[in-house]
């Protein structure tokens, strides 16, 4: 089966408001900053009756391509949280690399702790609770290290112009600046109007 594309937060059941979805996404991004090897994906959707949350989490971890900052992360370091608001079921699954730190007993504790906020319809609170529990478990086995993010200067002016996000109003003859603007990407033909 082909791979499927999934964001950090996928709200197929429309349980979250826009502000709540943004808040959860920012919360997950912070988690990824603290644990650069690990990422968590949240899926809220109504599943068919013949499909359980455990089966979906297993399938997603093996067939989904998650959208996160570092594309080099493998799904072995992922944790998937599935919430089915219709069946009122919640599931949590982790990849191979996280299995030694999250035995089934520990996963059950996290899932059981989410039941009360979920029963009250507090999806954001339940997701935050699960992420905090995961973070707490990881901190027991992880080691702290200073954040090293080397920033190298651009090798040439052309590379700088290409990566700076600046757009030239007139094409220079000697330089070939690649237009890369996400705002105008969806509106082809605007460039011709400007020129």
């Amino acid at each position: 089966m082909d791979l499927v594309h999934l964001d950090r937060v996928t709200d197929a059941a429309h349980c979250l408001r826009l502000r709540e979805a943004q808040h959860v996404e920012a919360f997950l991004e912070d988690f990824e900053r603290r644990f650069p090897q690990v990422f968590i994906a949240v899926y809220l959707g109504v599943l068919p009756q013949s499909f359980s949350v455990a089966e979906l989490s297993f399938w997603l971890l093996n067939h989904a391509a998650f959208n996160h900052a570092d594309a080099g992360k493998l799904n072995e370091h992922a944790a998937v949280l599935i919430i089915d608001p219709s069946a009122k079921a919640v599931g949590l699954n982790v990849g191979y690399s996280l299995e030694p730190f999250f035995p089934v007993k520990q996963l059950n504790k996290i899932v059981q702790a989410m039941r009360t906020p979920l029963w009250h319809g507090e999806y954001v609170g339940a997701i935050e609770l699960a992420v905090r529990r995961v973070e707490k478990c990881l901190k027991r086995v992880a080691c702290r290290a200073p954040a090293q993010k080397p920033i190298a200067p651009p090798p040439s002016a052309e590379a700088f112009m290409n990566g700076s996000g600046l757009r030239a109003l007139r094409r220079s003859e000697g330089a070939s600046i690649v237009e890369k603007d996400w705002k105008n990407a969806s509106r082809p033909g605007q460039e011709e109007e400007i020129f």
């Binding site: 093996n62 919640v90 996280l98 059950n108 996290i110 039941r115």
Partner: protein, 373 residues
């Protein structure tokens, strides 16, 4: 038939009963035949007041209230009353209320000047005061107190001298007695007053408002006059709560003992000198080395400024606020440092070896799930 007989019998019985209860009009003179009971009569041998006669006209005045006026007054109300008329201010009801030992009356007596002129004590009295032993805190040359009362007071003063740094001496006078102006305080109690911190109370028994109170100069210099005057006034007021002279003396001594201990705790710097150190007695006015404390001094003392009154508290509050602010700032700086440290740091988990199972490339288990309905 039987019922008819019963009804007729009942009718006759009722008729007979009605005749027997109805007063008969035809026999008005039958009551005259009964013997009239005699009324009691006054005789000369009867005790009490003589029997009044109608000619005296005193009978109605004794039946009516003496001072009744207005419509209730009988015709003879205008006659002179036997008892004197009530006072003009109308507080005659107070005659029937017993007077208790109230503070108001005591205060009135305190402000009263003695009507009897004061009499100076003799030379024997002064000599006895001077010969008194140094540890006799109660000096009573005329034995105005009974033996048991004096012993109680002596025990109290001895106990106070053991507990406090200020020894209090009581010199008892009788009523309407006063000390001569030539009395030398330095010689009283064998010169004990010049040693350490002492105070002398000259107590006329039964007249607490004439009490004279002397203290060592070191104390009067360290403590404000207002404080000492208020202390003296409080002791006198407490003694005036009682009416019995001996009880007044006991209350005064007890209150003075408490107040002296308060004074000692409130001004610890005033008692830096040793208890038995000897004070140099200058020549001349004895009040210079052993000044007198009066209650009037508290009223005439200059008022203490607001800054002097609150200075200590302001300083303490400033220190507390500064300390609290420093602690809060220190805690905030620690929290900020920890946040910065956590922002700059990342957590790295160890790489673990694993074997793939169930055909899963990245995951080989179902995890955990639960229902929340």
């Amino acid at each position: 038939m039987r019922v008819k007989r019963y009804i007729s019998g009942f009718f006759y019985f009722a008729l007979l009963l009605s005749f027997s209860m109805q007063p008969s009009e035809g026999t008005p003179d039958d009551s005259k035949g009964l013997e009239e009971l005699p009324l009691p009569r006054w005789t000369e041998e009867d005790p009490g007041m003589p029997m009044p006669t109608a000619a005296d006209g005193a009978l109605p005045s004794q039946l009516w209230p003496e001072n009744a006026v207005g419509e209730l007054a009988p015709e003879s109300a205008g006659a002179d009353s036997i008892t004197p008329p009530p006072p003009v201010n109308g507080d005659n009801l107070l005659f029937f209320i017993p007077k208790g030992p109230g503070k108001t009356d005591a205060g009135k007596t305190a402000s009263k000047k003695p009507a009897v002129p004061l009499k100076e004590v003799g030379a024997d009295f002064v000599r006895a005061c001077e010969r008194a032993e140094a540890d006799s805190y109660l000096i009573d040359p005329e034995t105005v107190l009974h033996e048991t009362q004096a012993e109680d007071l002596r025990r109290l003063l001895s106990y106070h001298a053991g507990e406090s740094k200020i020894s209090s001496y009581f010199l008892l006078l009788g009523q309407h007695e006063t000390l001569p102006s030539s009395l030398d305080l330095a010689k009283i109690a064998s010169g004990r007053l010049a040693h350490g911190n002492t105070c002398l109370v000259i107590y006329p028994l039964g007249e607490p408002w004439r009490i004279r109170f002397f203290m060592s100069r070191d104390i009067t210099q360290a403590v404000t006059v207002k404080y000492l005057g208020e202390m003296m006034n409080a002791c006198v007021q407490d003694s005036l709560q009682a009416t019995d002279p001996v009880e007044q003396l006991q209350r005064f001594a007890t209150h003075l003992s408490i107040r002296l201990i308060w004074l000692e705790r409130a001004h610890p710097a005033a008692f830096a000198i040793q208890k038995d150190s000897v004070v140099a007695i200058p020549e001349g006015d004895p009040t210079e080395w052993y000044p007198e404390v009066t209650a009037e001094a508290a009223e005439t003392a200059p008022p203490v400024g607001l800054w002097d009154q609150w200075k200590g508290r302001v300083v303490i509050a400033s220190w507390v606020l500064a300390g609290g602010g420093f602690m809060v700032a220190f805690a905030l700086s620690i929290v900020r440092w920890m946040r910065r440290r956590s922002r700059r740091a990342v957590w790295l988990i160890p790489e673990a070896e694993f074997t793939r199972r169930l055909g899963g490339a990245h995951c080989g288990g179902g995890g955990a799930s639960a229902r929340y309905n």
